[in-house]
């Protein structure tokens, strides 16, 4: 509604809104604290590792050494933003995550929905999942290396398995969370079973599904790194272990920071997708002032 002719106090629009937000932000103390906090942290890191080099901190690369190498055309320790190798590791890890996350979502969401929807499916499937779930994902490492071919197989299997459990359980809880009255209302209105599934079960479980997906992508990265560290030929997890084995510490830290960034970015993507699909949910929460 742009023709707000009668509204005396109109909200700033478009670019004005951006300026307004920036201005408002700078009048509060929070952004200064944030900058100060990050600066303090970096300074402490630098003092410990490079400034004073106390105790064993001297063994770790400090912020100056890392940034020097990271942004150098010809890095001392092999990895920088200008080397092909760096991007190769990132690409491989991301590709594995995409496959694993896609598989886990594609299998886990439908299974979870059916477990939530049908008493029978739950009675038969849930006990098996609950039996397997307490086994930590990493305990599957040796078995999957032995049973699955190549480097890719085990790595993808482990990441998939980890996020599959989380996704399936959350989808199931999502269906559980739907108020019985929605099912009754749908029944009254003359829905077929398929109508109910499409119009009640799936949208109703969506908030839980996306909570699950956010956790699941974190878990997928967690297991991927572990799997790449143990068995792998490429990928950021492998880069960390490889650097460690070759006694170069800078690429190790670069890989850690990169993992942090990508992990954060990927869960941000999942959240954004969720908010886009659940406009109703976002607006409802906004209405409740949350």
């Amino acid at each position: 509604m742009s023709n707000a002719a009668n509204t005396r106090i109109s909200e700033p629009q478009g670019i004005d809104m951006v300026f307004y937000r920036i201005k408002k932000n700078f009048t509060s103390v929070d952004p200064y604290l944030t900058v100060f906090g990050i600066f303090l942290w970096l300074f402490a890191y630098w003092v410990l590792c490079e400034g004073l080099q106390i105790w064993r901190f001297s063994k770790l690369p400090g912020p100056v050494a890392i940034s020097k190498d990271w942004f150098a055309f010809e890095p001392f320790q092999g990895i920088s933003i200008f080397t092909q190798e760096y991007y190769e590791h990132i690409r491989v890890s991301c590709q594995r995550i995409l496959i694993a996350f896609g598989l886990a979502t594609g299998l886990g969401v439908p299974l979870g929905l059916f477990m939530g929807w049908s008493r029978k499916v739950r009675d038969y499937v849930f006990p098996i999942i609950e039996t397997l779930r307490p086994i930590p994902i990493l305990a599957w490492v040796p078995l999957s290396i032995l049973l699955l071919p190549g480097f890719e197989g085990p790595v993808i299997f482990l990441a998939t398995l980890a996020s599959f459990f989380v996704t399936a359980l959350n989808a199931m809880l999502g269906v559980d969370s739907i108020d019985e009255e929605y099912f009754r209302a749908a029944g009254c209105l003359g829905s077929s079973k398929w109508d109910v599934f499409k119009n009640v079960v799936v949208p109703g479980a969506l908030p839980f599904i996306f909570t699950g997906l956010q956790i699941s992508i974190g878990v997928a990265w967690f297991s991927l790194v572990a799997a790449e560290m143990v068995s792998g030929d490429l990928g950021l997890g492998y880069l960390i272990v490889d650097a460690y084995m070759n006694n170069v510490t800078v690429p190790m830290v670069i890989a850690m920071i990169t993992l942090g960034f990508i992990g954060y970015f990927s869960s941000g993507c999942v959240r954004a997708l969720g908010n886009k699909l659940m406009a109703w949910h976002v607006k409802e929460l906004a209405q409740q002032g949350r």
């Binding site: 901190f57 397997l132 974190g218």
Partner: protein, 270 residues
């Protein structure tokens, strides 16, 4: 016992569950025999040890002292890392929640470090700490720490403001507010965080034991038990190790549930 059996077989859900597990074991057995029966190589499925062999292997390790030493080693690592994470994480999370300046300064670095998977810290920690044992403890601590802090922070900030106002109107001091309202109000989230953190702790201990080859110093632990079975090529023992860790993880998470039940009487209604 009869009570337990009644619960298991007395209703449809129990009967279905038991039959599902039985079918699962049968499929497992059939899968492990596929190579022999069909004469083809089934992409490694045929390598899976049959359930009976695993059972025999389990009976084989149970009397051995070394096996139980692995339990003790892993458990002590998990408990050490976990308790340290609780001791540091709960006050840290609460401080983040109640003090705006503290949050402004310390939350951003925390958020920058949080997305780094705990296991990525393993090599750095091996370099930094003088002993293997200390580096395992450190990574274990990290794994649980981030989860606990985030849960404590979220829980404390979600406390209904009217409880605080009610307490204040009854004349509560700042000290009272913290001990009587904020802390109990955060307790459910603390226990949620603890349950999740416990799961991560087990993962991390396992990985650390595998990567660092926990056998070089100190007791091996269950992760090393699996790893050495893998090195020795004993598939049955790998599965035995997996099951043992599953049981261990289950025991620790139900312990947390029990403790939570004890500390939160108002939640027992649910």
């Amino acid at each position: 016992m009869t009570n337990f059996l009644q619960k298991l077989f007395g209703n449809t859900t129990g009967r279905r569950g038991v039959s599902a597990i039985i079918v699962f074991v049968i499929i497992w057995h059939v899968g492990s025999q596929l190579d022999e029966w069909t004469g083809y190589d089934m992409l490694g499925i045929g390598l899976v040890p049959p359930p009976a062999d695993v059972f025999v292997a389990f009976l084989g390790v149970v009397p051995k002292v070394g096996y139980w030493m692995s339990w003790v080693a892993s458990f002590s690592r998990v408990i050490t890392g976990f308790i340290v994470a609780m001791i540091i994480g709960i006050p840290f999370g609460l401080l983040l929640a109640v003090n705006r300046y503290f949050r402004g300064v310390f939350f951003p670095p925390f958020e920058i470090l949080r997305p780094i998977p705990p296991l990525a810290w393993v090599p750095a920690s091996l370099i930094f700490w003088p002993t293997n044992e200390m580096s395992i403890a450190f990574v274990t601590f990290l794994g649980a720490f981030f989860t606990i802090v985030i849960n404590v922070l979220g829980g404390a900030r979600n406390i209904d403001i009217s409880y605080l106002r009610a307490a204040q109107s009854m004349g509560a001091s700042q000290f009272d507010l913290f001990w009587k309202i904020v802390l109990p109000g955060t307790l459910p989230s603390i226990f949620t965080g603890a349950a999740v953190g416990m799961g991560i702790t087990w993962e991390v201990v396992l990985a650390a034991e595998m990567i660092s080859g926990g056998g070089t110093q100190g007791g091996g632990g269950l992760g090393f038990f699996i790893w050495s079975s893998y090195m020795g090529g004993s598939l049955e023992q790998i599965v035995v190790g997996m099951i043992s860790i599953g049981i261990a993880g289950y025991l620790s998470s139900s312990a947390i549930r029990k403790i939570g039940y004890h500390f939160m009487p108002w939640r027992r209604l649910f």
